[in-house]
């Protein structure tokens, strides 16, 4: 239920609906977009970034929250660990088990590799399950992978790595079919044709969805298939360091049992990092849509092992994070709401941006409306945002559309006595996705032999801004590619003797740069949201 003063503002929004039904806001041209981003997108706040002082990307700028972890101290003491005495010995170790990790594990297994999956939370507790809107694939007759390519490049401001985008768009239709063969329920029309929607920055209707539980639907199927295939997995066991060998190749990883605090040594011929996102670092203090474990661990592990990172200065702030009620602050209000026809309005019920511009553009426009123009609305808890006028969907597409297409959103708001079929939603940008990450080639290979990566922890596919429906696609396309490639590599590689020399060298570099005392332990593993750190003395037990 909204407080009375917000109910009054809703009446103003209702009054402008007839006008907005026929109103169309023009798309911004490239110059207007660039200007808007420069002025209002969080990536352009220079003081939020600093340049890295050690490692492969020395000199590159990245948010201070990430920089501190990339230049962090190792959690292990190489003198106390013998990497040549493993607890597990496998062909392919997959670190992380969201959509990318699960896809990779299945494909590596299919190639005959002995696979071990390790994950920080449970299998599938990943950003994948929160992906609501859909997965892009250019499969309708008026669409083509070439158009998908152009949309993706434009969305990413033409900085995307073309080879990666080519693979993404060409593999897309077969990724959709692969999932369907595994039993994913795509929304379809009666004749079997895919029921597809537009999204921000897509020039065709190309989003394949499963109601608004798209990522969840894919994840529960992939997880089930891992179990059917009897692929070994361990939960609540994140990786804390990679192991190399004396030839500079990957040789495994050191894992940590979060409950017993035991270290586990895994010898592996190939390692696939599928550790996901960064949201729980709360870049610039933003709330986030991300899951509890999204702390950029894979970037830290890869960086310390000598892998190159790319586009680490750009984050995606999803335009529509919930700001009311407080209980769901920062949680995702899926772009599918705008895809279906909901518009963004200020306190006067006026539109201020075409609702299906790419995400960075819409987010910047919302920030401008609130910060510069002062036309946002303030919640009782002091958050400021704009209206997302969801009832327009049923007005444009007929009663019942919202209930059918957005059951998760309806349910989430109904808990707090807000009926999104009748009342609009208050939103403000929320930290959603890391556009950059570990640099990979079209097979998911990094510059460290035997080290592969897939999904959100990688960079290059999306340039400086990812489009809707291209992240779940990225998981399946590059997860599968990395899984297959890692298994093939594992068959051929001549192994050396495992060593943690790179960790020793890393600590020496930190010392030399005078950073060892200042930096935290990394990877971060989990955020700490308790108050005890602030108000109570703590005793380690």
């Amino acid at each position: 239920m909204y407080p009375a003063y917000l109910e009054e503002s809703i009446h103003i929004v209702e009054d402008t609906r007839v006008r907005r039904l026929i109103e169309s806001i023009p798309r911004l041209n490239e110059l207007e977009k660039a200007d808007l981003l420069q002025q209002f997108h969080p990536d352009y706040i220079k003081s939020s970034m600093r340049r890295l002082l050690v490692g492969v990307n020395k000199g590159d700028a990245t948010p201070v929250e990430l920089a501190d972890l990339l230049e962090g101290n190792s959690r292990i003491d190489p003198e106390k660990i013998d990497p040549s005495r493993p607890d597990y010995n496998v062909d392919v170790l997959v670190i992380g088990c969201g959509g990318a990790g699960a896809s990779a594990a299945l494909l590596a297994h299919e190639q005959g590799a002995r696979v071990l999956v390790t994950t920080k939370l449970r299998l599938g507790d990943a950003n994948t399950v929160g992906a609501q809107a859909g997965t892009q694939a250019a499969d309708r007759p008026n669409d083509s992978p070439a158009i998908h390519y152009l949309d993706t490049m434009g969305g990413g401001h033409f900085d995307n790595i073309p080879e990666l985008v080519e693979v993404l768009v060409k593999d897309a239709p077969s990724a959709i079919r692969w999932l369907e063969k595994l039993g994913v329920n795509w929304d379809k029309d009666k004749d079997g044709s895919m029921h597809e929607l537009s999204g921000g920055g897509t020039s065709r209707r190309r989003l394949h969805s499963a109601r608004d539980y798209t990522g969840l639907e894919a994840m529960r199927v992939l997880r089930d298939e891992l179990k059917n295939k009897k692929i070994d997995y361990i939960e609540f066991v994140p990786a804390v360091e990679l192991i190399l060998d004396d030839r500079g190749q990957i040789a495994g990883a050191i894992l940590l049992n979060l409950e017993t605090e035991e270290l586990i040594i895994v010898r592996a011929r190939a390692v696939i990092l599928a550790t996901g996102g960064i949201g729980r670092l709360h870049i610039q203090g933003f709330p986030t849509t991300n899951h509890y474990g999204a702390t950029a661990d894979g970037l830290v592990l890869a960086y310390r092992a000598g892998a190159e990172l790319i586009f680490i200065d750009t984050m995606q702030y999803h335009p529509t994070g919930a700001i009311y009620p407080l209980q769901i602050l920062g949680q995702l209000v899926t772009e599918k709401v705008r895809t279906l026809g909901a518009q963004l309005t200020n306190l006067n019920g006026e539109q201020f941006v075409m609702p299906l511009e790419p995400r960075d553009v819409v987010a910047s426009a919302i920030i401008r409306e609130c910060r510069e123009r002062g036309l946002g609305l303030r919640t009782p808890h002091g958050e400021v945002g704009v209206w997302l006028d969801s009832p327009m969907i049923d007005i444009m597409r007929g009663e019942g559309t919202i209930a059918r297409e957005l059951p998760a959103m309806v349910r989430q708001y109904r808990r707090y006595n807000i009926d999104i079929t009748r009342e609009p939603i208050l939103v403000y940008p929320t930290l959603h996705y890391q556009n950059g990450g570990i640099k990979i080639d079209t097979e998911g290979a990094t510059n460290v032999p035997g080290l592969y990566a897939a999904g959100e922890c990688t960079g290059g596919v999306h340039g400086r801004n990812r489009l809707i429906g291209n992240s779940t696609l990225d998981l399946f396309v590059f997860g599968r590619r990395a899984g297959r490639a890692a298994a093939l590599y594992a068959r051929e590689v001549k192994r050396g003797s495992p060593t943690l020399e790179h960790v020793r060298r890393w600590q020496q570099e930190l010392e030399k740069a005078g950073l060892a005392r200042e930096r935290p332990l990394s990877p971060r593993l989990l955020p700490d949201y308790t108050r005890r750190g602030h108000s109570h003395a703590r005793q380690e037990i």
Binding site: L150, D151, G183, G192, N228, H291, H381
Partner: protein, 234 residues
């Protein structure tokens, strides 16, 4: 100005604490000093990791919800429920037939359901769990798939079922059979896959890859954009 939140009394595993009104069960635990490892996942109502059971100080009736979505209320008594496994059938979807009897064949215990409806009352997604279990008994795969679609697989139904059934696994099997075998094939998808395999778009994409700078920007700006609203929308 932000209002100062009122403090309310709750009980965490028996211990009395005061937390600000407006927190969820999950954030109330954290506010009270618990750094969670288990029982916390997406924090947005999608993964089912934080399924929880609670009651009130003067009302022993057990209630069920997701800790990340449920707001704390005065006199709530919170526990963290331990993990326990449910039985999942192992099967090869590729070699199966979409026969309604498959559900019973792989989960024979579902005939033991005596219709107590505890599962439905337990479901934090408010699904009609008992009804889709009845659909499963009748072998109606399509109905199970549809009714169970919003299932997070949090496991609360299995935790409370007096017969030890795992409705969420039965439902998953039904949805996989439905998606794999019972929806008509998408002709346009099959056609596009063949076209991609035959290299039909290679030249065009190769040309786009070579086209850089202003020219690519011009083409992007001038590309025709299909209407978001489908003409054929019912």
């Amino acid at each position: 100005m932000a209002e100062q939140a009122r403090l309310i009394d709750i009980y965490i595993m028996g211990r009395h604490v005061q937390v600000p009104e407006g927190l969820t069960i999950l954030t109330a635990l954290e506010y009270s000093g618990y750094r969670l490892v288990r029982g916390c996942g997406c924090r947005a109502g999608f993964c089912g990791a934080c399924a929880t059971i609670y009651n009130f100080k003067n009302d022993p009736q057990l209630r069920h919800d997701l800790a990340c979505q449920k707001a704390v209320e005065p006199d709530m008594c919170l526990v963290q429920i331990p993990y326990f496994p449910a039985l999942k059938a192992i099967y090869n979807l590729e070699k199966m037939k979409a026969d309604g009897e498959k559900l019973k064949a792989l989960y024979p215990d579902i005939v033991k359901c005596f219709g107590c409806n505890t599962c439905t009352k337990t479901c934090p997604q408010e699904l009609e769990v008992m009804w889709f279990m009845t659909d499963a008994l009748r072998g109606d795969i399509r109905a199970v798939a549809d009714r169970s679609f919003d299932c997070l697989m949090c496991g609360l139904c299995a935790a409370r079922c007096p017969q030890g059934l795992a409705p969420y696994y039965v439902a998953l099997l039904a949805r996989r059979l439905y998606g794999r075998y019972l929806t008509p094939v998408s002709e346009h998808l099959e056609k596009r896959i063949k076209e991609v395999e035959s290299g039909r778009f290679d030249a065009e994409i190769k040309e786009l890859k070579k086209t850089g700078g202003q020219e690519l920007r011009r083409r992007y700006a001038e590309r025709d954009v299909e209407s978001a609203l489908e003409q054929s929308w019912e």
